[in-house]
Every structure is written in structure tokens, then in C-alpha cells.
């Protein structure tokens, strides 16, 4: 056969790069992705780049407003709270707790959820229905309520919150993965693959996984936004992170009494929470839409 290339490389794109191309054209989702990456980087580096320590008190600067205000001080860009602590440093470190811990919780949930979901997907008969009905029962309880119940058993604390959130997110996760795996396993190409001589393990890793991992990312973002809200909510209810930990929900609760006197101490963590959840949801939503579009053409 003659050595010539009939087709340009441009059309020769993998499913993943097609996904990225479509995703790039969705601008809100793209901006959200940048915000998401920025927050992730902040969560990793906050203790090193924050201007002050989280508990460093400045007795000369109590309840200073943000620096653009007439009474503000340029040393404290986002002002200080009633103990003279720098709000900016505390919020930056808060990203590590609220956002970083949520990512870790969602990642652990993903690992366990994919494992259990696949197991549920390939099992048949009694085992499968037992697992499913058990999951259905836990699904009927809202995740925050489930987390509160688990906290009630484990006792309050940041680490217990993470465990509680992992357990609370898991049923939904396992359910979604199971549905994906079952859907995929019923497709024609899996039986064709089985006829090629593929073992059960190869069916899952080569047949099913390459076709569902993008969906797993979507489920991951959904789990992540739930985890952020749950960690903050539990912190706010004083069941999760305890002051002076700089978790955003805990900061909110701590400064709630100052809301008229120093609104920035309450408003700013709220805004950050909003941005974190919004960016996560926008990325997940954009991804889901792109997946649907790719399936359509």
C-alpha cells in the first residue's frame, strides 16, 4: 500500500479532545474552570502565601474595614475581625479547609464509590437487589441530615465531618456509578468484546471505564459541591470545624454577632462559599452538557 496520508490530522481527534474543544466554547464553564483551578491552588498554598498567621492578633487594628474604605488600612486588605486578626489570611487558609478538604472527601468517595458501584453493577440476582435496596433506603435521607446523624455518633470535629460527608455522599455515588456500569454492560460492543475473548476484568477496564470516566468526573463535581456546602453547614452549626479553625462556615458562625458592626467579616466568607460552589457546579454542568452534545453528533 502506498505511503500517503489521505486524512488530515485535524479530524483525527480522540473523544477526550473533542470534549475539550466543545468545553472551551462554553465560556461560563471555562471561566468557572479557571476559578476552580485558582481555588485549588490557593487551597494547596494558602499557609505559605498568606500575609499573616491565622491567629496572629493586632491589638492596634481591631475591626478595621477593608482597605478601600476611608478607615481601612492597607496592611489589612480585607480588614480585621474583633480580635484584630487579618480577614484575608483567615479566608485564604479557609480555602484549605473548606475547599481542600471537600476535594479530598470527594476523591475518597470517588475511589470507594467507583469500586462499590462497579461491584454492584456486575453482580446479579440477590446480591445486586440487596445492595440496591439498601442504597435506596439511604438515598431517601438528605445528605446533610445523614452527615449530622453520623456526626452525632462520631462526635463533632473537622476530621469526623470529613468521614461523615464521605459516608453521606457514598450512597448516591454508588447508585450513579452502578447505573452507568449496568447501562454500559448491556451495550452491544461489550458482548462483542466478550466474544473477542476479554475477561471480566478486561471488560471493565478496557470496555466500560474508557466510556464512563467523563461521567464519573461529572458525578465528582456534583459530589464536590455537596461536600463544600455540607462542610460549611456543619461548621456553621458548630458540629464540624471548631473555632479558631479557619473553615469558612466556622468563620461565618464566629462572626455572626458582628454582622451590623463589621459586615465584611460575615459577607466575605459567604461570597467565597458562593464562588466555590458556583464554579464547581458550572464546571460540572458544562461538562454534562458537552457530554450530551458529543453523544448527539
Amino acid at each position: 500500500m502506498a505511503k500517503f496520508s489521505l486524512f488530515s490530522e485535524e479530524s483525527n481527534r480522540s473523544p477526550l479532545s473533542r470534549l475539550w474543544r466543545k468545553f472551551k466554547s462554553n465560556h461560563p464553564a471555562l471561566v468557572a474552570l479557571w476559578v476552580f483551578i485558582a481555588l485549588t491552588l490557593l487551597a494547596m498554598t494558602a499557609p505559605f502565601i498568606a500575609p499573616y498567621g491565622i491567629n496572629q492578633q493586632h491589638s492596634d487594628a481591631l475591626l478595621l474595614p477593608p482597605s478601600w474604605h476611608d478607615l481601612g488600612d492597607v496592611r489589612f486588605i480585607l480588614g480585621t475581625d474583633d480580635l484584630g486578626r487579618d480577614v484575608l489570611s483567615r479566608l485564604m487558609n479557609g480555602a484549605t479547609f473548606t475547599f481542600g478538604l471537600s476535594i479530598i472527601a470527594a476523591l475518597i468517595t470517588t475511589l470507594v464509590g467507583v469500586f462499590l458501584g462497579t461491584l454492584a453493577g456486575v453482580s446479579h440476582g440477590f446480591r445486586s437487589s440487596a445492595l440496591n435496596h439498601l442504597l435506596d433506603i439511604t438515598l431517601s435521607i438528605p445528605s446533610l441530615l445523614l452527615a449530622i446523624i453520623i456526626i452525632a455518633i462520631l462526635g463533632p470535629g473537622l476530621l469526623n465531618t470529613v468521614w461523615a460527608i464521605i459516608f453521606a455522599l457514598l450512597p448516591q455515588y454508588v447508585h450513579s456509578i452502578r447505573n452507568l456500569v449496568v447501562d454500559e454492560l448491556n451495550k452491544d460492543y461489550i458482548s462483542a468484546f466478550r466474544l473477542d475473548g476479554a475477561s471480566q476484568w478486561q471488560l471493565l477496564t478496557r470496555g466500560v471505564l474508557p466510556n464512563i470516566y467523563e461521567h464519573i468526573v461529572v458525578i465528582f463535581t456534583m459530589a464536590l459541591s455537596t461536600a463544600i456546602l455540607d462542610i460549611a453547614a456543619l461548621g456553621f452549626l458548630k458540629l464540624g470545624a471548631q473555632p479558631p479553625t479557619t473553615e469558612w462556615g466556622a468563620i461565618l458562625a464566629e462572626n455572626l454577632g458582628l454582622i451590623y458592626l463589621a459586615p465584611w467579616t460575615v459577607g466575605l466568607p459567604g461570597v467565597l462559599l458562593f464562588i466555590a460552589v458556583l464554579s464547581t457546579n458550572l464546571v460540572g454542568d458544562g461538562l454534562r452538557q458537552v457530554l450530551k452534545e458529543r453523544k448527539a453528533d
Binding site: 500500500m1 496520508s5 489521505l6 486524512f7 479530524s11 483525527n12 481527534r13 480522540s14 473523544p15 451495550k187 452491544d188 460492543y189 458482548s191 462483542a192 468484546f193 466478550r194 466474544l195 473477542d196 475473548g197 476479554a198 475477561s199 478486561q202 478496557r206 470496555g207 474508557p210 466510556n211
Partner: protein
């Protein structure tokens, strides 16, 4: 001449729930026997629900029969529902190539997996074999890097054919594999199949409802109705003089 594929008294039934404790057996295939020689084509026709696709699945090994034997080259490969070796000598081409190819793998990876699971070839040997098979079915070596979504329907059916042929099978089962193609592409594919048959002595089992295709391609004809053979013999003879009512209705005489 010894037949390549011989099927003896193959039966298959499915269970369905009729009540809480009652189960109903529905016999899909009853006592099917036939033989196909090397380089021959056997066509299977029948109404919807007559068990054609089940027969294809049983032959390819996607499903196990309840009883009966399948013999390949005189050796039993399936006896009363127990399959002996891997199914590399009888390969199946599915009805819809857009659904039977993994959208997440390139064509090359898919063919490579096929070889990896069934042969002991080294990676360079596998590469060579894949290139050769792709050119045999009228594709280019460059298609190695392509994903299924980049092909048209006719090309996809060629990919499916490549997947069947890469293991050098003796029998290829075509389960309505040509009906989803448009007429000109179908003609091309049929010519390709006939050429491959002439070159390498492949046997085809053609499951279809296209009578012109049956007339053109097949040497023998098997008519199924409700899981039973109602007529079996030379294609030309049956077309000339159908014996049973079912065949007459199917052939519209």
C-alpha cells in the same frame, strides 16, 4: 468433503416468569441440525421471532445452548451447553456496527486487544497483522489511529469485518450485518465478502431477510419458523420449488 461446521440437534429455551412461583419455558430453537462445507454460504431466513438471532448467538458463543452439539472440523466445540475453547474460529458480525464497536478505543487498539487475548504474537507482529487485515477489508493502515465515530456506516461495517477476520476464523456469522447499509455500500461489501471467501475459503452463515442477497450469496438455505427447521437444502432448488407454506409465504410465490 468434511463440513467445517456441523450443528447437531441444537435446542435453546428461555425461562420467563408466569406467576410468583411458576416459570414458563419458551422454546426458541428446537432440534436444529445442519452442516456447512468450507467456502460455502448458508443462508438462514425466517420471520421475526423465529430464532434467527438466537441461532447466531449460539454459534458465536455469546449464549450457551441447552442441548445439542456444535462441531468444528469434526471436533466438538460445544456439547450440551458447555463451550470448550475460545470462540476464535467462529466469529460474528453484529447487526449495527455503530453499536458493536467500543467508542472509547481506537480501531487499532480494539484489533490489538483481539489479538492479545487470543494469540501469542509479539507487539510488532500484531501491528503487522492489523495493518494487513485493515488493507484486506479495504481500509488504510492509517485507520489504526481512528476512533469509531470518525467512520461512515459502510466503513464501520468493514472495521467490524476486520475484527472478525483478524483471528483467521473458519466461519463468519453475519447477523443482519448487511441490512443497515445503503444499497451501493451493501453491494460493495457483498463483493468484498465474496472475494474474501474465494481467496481464503471462509464459510459464511448469512442471517438476513434480504431475498436477493440470499439468492446472490448462498449455496444452501435454511428456513426457520418458530424455532424449527421447515426447509433445508440447495438455495436454487428451494427458490425454484418451495415445499412448505412458510417458505412460500416468505418467498412470496
Amino acid at each position: 468433503m468434511q463440513p467445517v461446521l456441523k450443528v447437531q440437534a441444537l435446542s435453546k429455551s428461555f425461562q420467563s416468569r408466569a406467576g410468583i412461583f411458576k416459570r414458563k419455558h419458551i422454546a426458541v430453537l428446537r432440534d436444529i441440525s445442519f452442516a456447512v462445507g468450507p467456502g460455502e454460504t448458508l443462508a438462514v431466513i425466517g420471520e421475526t421471532g423465529s430464532g434467527k438471532s438466537t441461532l447466531a448467538k449460539l454459534l458465536a458463543g455469546a449464549d450457551a445452548a441447552d442441548c445439542g452439539q456444535i462441531l468444528l472440523d469434526g471436533k466438538t466445540i460445544e456439547d450440551n451447553g458447555v463451550r470448550k475453547n475460545q470462540c476464535r474460529h467462529i466469529r460474528m458480525i453484529f447487526q449495527d456496527p455503530t453499536r458493536s464497536l467500543n467508542p472509547g478505543l481506537t480501531i487499532g487498539d480494539m484489533l490489538d486487544d483481539c489479538l492479545k487475548y487470543n494469540t501469542d504474537l509479539t507487539s510488532s507482529q500484531r501491528d503487522k497483522k492489523i495493518k494487513l487485515t485493515l488493507s484486506r477489508v479495504g481500509l488504510l493502515g492509517e485507520h489504526y489511529q481512528y476512533y469509531p465515530h470518525m467512520f461512515s456506516g459502510g466503513q464501520l461495517q468493514r472495521v467490524a469485518l476486520a475484527r472478525a477476520l483478524i483471528l483467521d476464523p473458519k466461519v463468519v456469522v453475519l447477523d443482519e450485518a448487511l441490512s443497515s447499509l445503503d444499497p451501493s455500500v451493501r453491494a460493495q461489501t457483498v463483493n468484498l465478502l465474496l472475494k474474501l471467501q474465494k481467496d481464503s475459503g471462509l464459510s459464511f452463515i448469512l442471517i438476513t431477510h434480504h431475498l436477493s442477497l440470499v439468492k446472490h450469496m448462498s449455496d444452501q438455505l435454511l428456513v426457520l419458523s418458530r424455532g424449527k427447521i421447515v426447509e433445508y437444502g440447495n438455495t436454487a432448488a428451494i427458490f425454484a420449488k418451495p415445499q412448505s407454506k412458510v417458505t412460500q409465504r416468505l418467498l412470496n410465490v
